[in-house]
Amino acid sequence: MRLARQWTSGLVLAGCLVWPRLSLAAQGGRTAPVSSGNAGAFSDLVLVSADTPQARAGPRSVTLVIVPVPRELPRDAAVTYEAIPAGDIQFLGQRTGQVSGVGVERIVVLTVRVPAHTPAGRVVAGRVRFFVHGAPRVDVVCTVDVPWVSGASMVLERRLLAARPGERVVLHYRLTNTGNAPDMIEVGVTTPERWGKGVLAVTSAFHLLGGETTAEGDIVLAIPRDAATGSTWLPLVARNAARDLAQTTALLEIVDRETQPAAGVRLTTSLATVLRQKMPATPFFGLDFQGALTPNVRAFGRLVQAVNARPADARGLSQVGMFPGASIVTFEGPRWRFRGGNTGEAFSEITGVNLWGSGATFAHDGTRWTTAAILAKPRRFSAPTLGNGYMAGAQVGRFVGGGMVHGTAVAADDPQSGRRLEALGIGGVAPPLGSGWDLSGEIAARRFRGGSGFGWLAEAKQQNPDRLLLVRYSHAPGGSSAFAPARDLLVATVSDGVTPTLRFGASVWGSGDVTPTVEQLHSAGWSAGPQWWVKPRTLLELELHGNGFDATSASGVIGSSEVLARLGAMRQSGSFLASASVAGGQVSRSLTPPNGARNEVVAGRWLVRGSVGHSTAAGAFEASASYEQNGAGSGLLPRQSVLAIRAAAVPLPVGLWGATGAASVQRYDWFGSRPGVTVVRAGFRVPLPASLAFTLEAEHNPLFVSAAAGGWNVAIKLEYATVVAWMGLRAAARGSVYEDRNGNGRRDSGEPGLAGVLVRRGGESVVTDAAGRYRFLTRADEPARLDETSLAFGLIAAFDSSRSPDLAVLPTAPVTIRLVPTSDSGQAAPPPARAGGSLVTVRVQARDQAGNIWSTRPDSQGVATLHALPPGSYQIELDLSGLQTPLILRGPLPSFTVEAGGTVPTMVIPLFLRPVRMFDPNNPSRNRNQSGRQ
């Protein structure tokens, strides 16, 4: 070491000598005496050559070093040399020899190996000592220029995490700088686009790490409350300023809040009213419930009732989530649904649609039969009429040979609107044809107010991921006055993926109808155009569309049509979304008054729209603008612009967790045609103690013609939510996940539960709560099992054959074993490469009392680690058969015990070079003892 320090201080001043620069370096070389082991003996004098051969080699590589014989040595004498390594860099192959020759450049070629962990920079590999009899010895120092190689490895504490919407999850990682120099490494996570960018709650993402050092860190994600359930990949990347160094992926499983142990039937009662200037307030009472009555029956319902008979401000109430007159109750199972209260049904265009009333509907989708039925009374929403009316109908279907047949019977009479229908129909769906075509049809005898006739409908459809073709036509005598959408209705649609980024779509429709107020009503529309995904998140589209109608009524013949061409673009970037479009065309309006002349106006029309939105955990924000310009006589205002900004779901800093607010401002301008108006809305929802919540929505809307037009309409709601412990909600299975610290397979006092562990059973997955408890609401025969990938480092699931609902997890401990090549004298031998070759071929095993084996291999330094051994007693075993140079054991291998929560000290096992022995046929037992395999 003393010499090594002197080399580095005294000789690196000179130029380096590498093979291509041999002649240049030779001219500038010098020699410096630096050491004398014996000042009186000339041959003991050691000179150090200033010629420093240098090679360049990266970690984990082998290179050649050319060492010229120092010029100070006599040229006519044979020179003996010896390569002496220093540090970790090793000389491979022959390290001693003799160089001779006159008139030629005398060199020594050495092979050096640069280990993986060699730090970047100029590293001394060793020296070459030259000897000439009768002359001072000369040392030449060899250096290797090791470049910086960056690298990192990253390991997650848990590869699988589970949580519920609204919760936070912690991604705990271990980051190791596997490069050979200090590096600044950033760890980042990519969350799903739909979460927005504000999901990072806490991040310690930057680490300054030296080479071969490790750090730990956390990334905390706040899962949005509206996140969809299911599995989501979360890629983590460790990168420095130049490139990505390491990647890993966590799997986040978001489970349904309804399946958490605290679930129940959620019952919400509320009281709301609308406060307006000069108007008495009418309180409304609301009741909502949602939940499971039994593991297989879910129910939800809603009741809204005014406290008095005064008129309600339906708009204001709707802003706080109350809808007067829409009380319902629904029960549904896996294949059926019953709905009572305000309900409706739609069978087909010819057997009845828009059958809405107060009553009940039922639907069942079996594997062989389907059923749908309604029994209701038309809801009266106008002045007293001629009668109450009725709506009764049923449809029964049967799957036959891949197709289906169904029959329908309907009788409905709604005196209030004048609609009436008695229909009897039969129809079917043909088994799938070739090329993905489906054909269906139905015929029905229809009797309606003032007539009767046969209705029919036919549909042909071809649908696959790239193409949709649909043609559907229906003829329903009586039209909308007999519960049909129209008397005649044609729809044709085509959508085709021309290329993966280009899609073309077109559709056309037309209808004809007769109503009590319109004798003939013909309507038609069409659209066509391509959509081109220029980039994965950039859409460009062109659309041509038109629509119009001609209506003949007591007011005359009214005609209207519009044709527009629209060019639009949409771009999404992260949580930003921007869109813009421009459209131009013309509108046509005609009117032929009774006993008057037809007049028609055709005028141009332009529209420009644009919006930009940004959605984060801090809220959703949007700004939009539109402008349109219309020709005179078109019936539209000449010019109109709308500017709007909106914010929603904004967490409010009011010190109450979960308070959110929303606001919007819209400015309408008509450029002198009429006064502009500004509509302002604002509101908030604040959770209060005792499961209460208060909601306020205020609106200033000058478009209201009511007395409150100049002021504010304020709707308020106070609600109380509770979870009712319903008998049917008793868990079908419950249990816990705990840390079995003594490994006895039972949960003893002091053994804690584990939170955040994913437990599965059948198709249901749940997450343990803070106490380690879980609960399944659906019945299944199979036992619960925990997903081991959701356990943290150092924990493993215990094998359990008892089907106990309490799932044991065993804590483990790492065990380190160091293999040390040792000389016969008991001193540590030179590094492994020179004492038996690389130790990485050794297999290290730990066998427990049950015979289970944990296995690993040591690194090049002979260090083997068994990272997670559960509590128990173990015996170490070694397999040395893979060594190139035989090493042997002397003495028994150690045994050890792992205790829960304890540590095991590092064990050192010496390995001895096996002496070379001749085979002794007279002593076979001795030969066996020298076997390399232990």
Binding site: A314, R315, G316, S318, G325, A326, N342, N354, W356, G357, P378, R379, F381, S382, S417, G418, G479, S480, P485, A486, V491, S511, D513, V518, L521, S523, G525, F549, S553, A554, S555, I558, S560, L567, A569, A580, V582, R589, P593, G596, N599, W606, V608, G610, Y627, Q629, G631, A632, G635, L636, L637, P638, R639, G672, S673, R674, P675, L703, F704, S706
Partner: protein, 142 residues
């Protein structure tokens, strides 16, 4: 970004177009002054029945051109809701008025007959598939 620029340029060009101002009023139809507040009721016959009632406010009348607002409550089988929108239209002749109400982005066209302080007529609104239609009546509020 290139496409956004194209759209923005088109927007600017469109905005620079000469605005359509209130034209000099033609000879107004005799005694057709609709300015003021009207009580409005309407019935929807197709595709589903509904009733509407509220207030029609004609705020400007520039010659034969009308603008205003409509504030109604719509009641149908599924409940009730308040709807508001702007109005624009024209007086066709001494007995006919033709205007659109924009409860959505699509105009609901009304054609009615004037009789003293009342209007009665028919309305039609194009839908995505077919059209909605019905009748309406308005009476001038005192």
């Amino acid at each position: 970004m290139t496409y956004l620029r194209i759209v923005l340029v088109c927007s600017v060009l469109a905005a620079c177009h000469t605005p359509v101002d209130c034209a000099p009023p033609p000879p107004p139809p005799a005694s057709a002054n609709l300015l003021g507040r009207w009580s409005y009721t309407a019935t929807q016959n197709a595709p589903t029945p509904a009733n509407l009632f509220g207030t029609l406010d004609i705020t400007t009348q520039c010659g034969t051109t009308l603008t205003g607002s409509l504030d109604v409550t719509e009641v149908d089988a599924q409940g009730s809701r308040r709807r508001t929108g702007t109005l624009s239209g024209r007086i066709v002749d001494s007995v006919t008025v033709d205007f659109d109400v924009f409860l959505t982005t699509v105009g609901r066209r009304h054609v009615g007959a004037l009789a003293r302080d009342s209007i009665q007529g028919t309305w039609v609104e194009p839908l995505d598939l077919g059209s909605a239609s019905g009748s309406f009546a308005a009476a001038r509020m005192p």
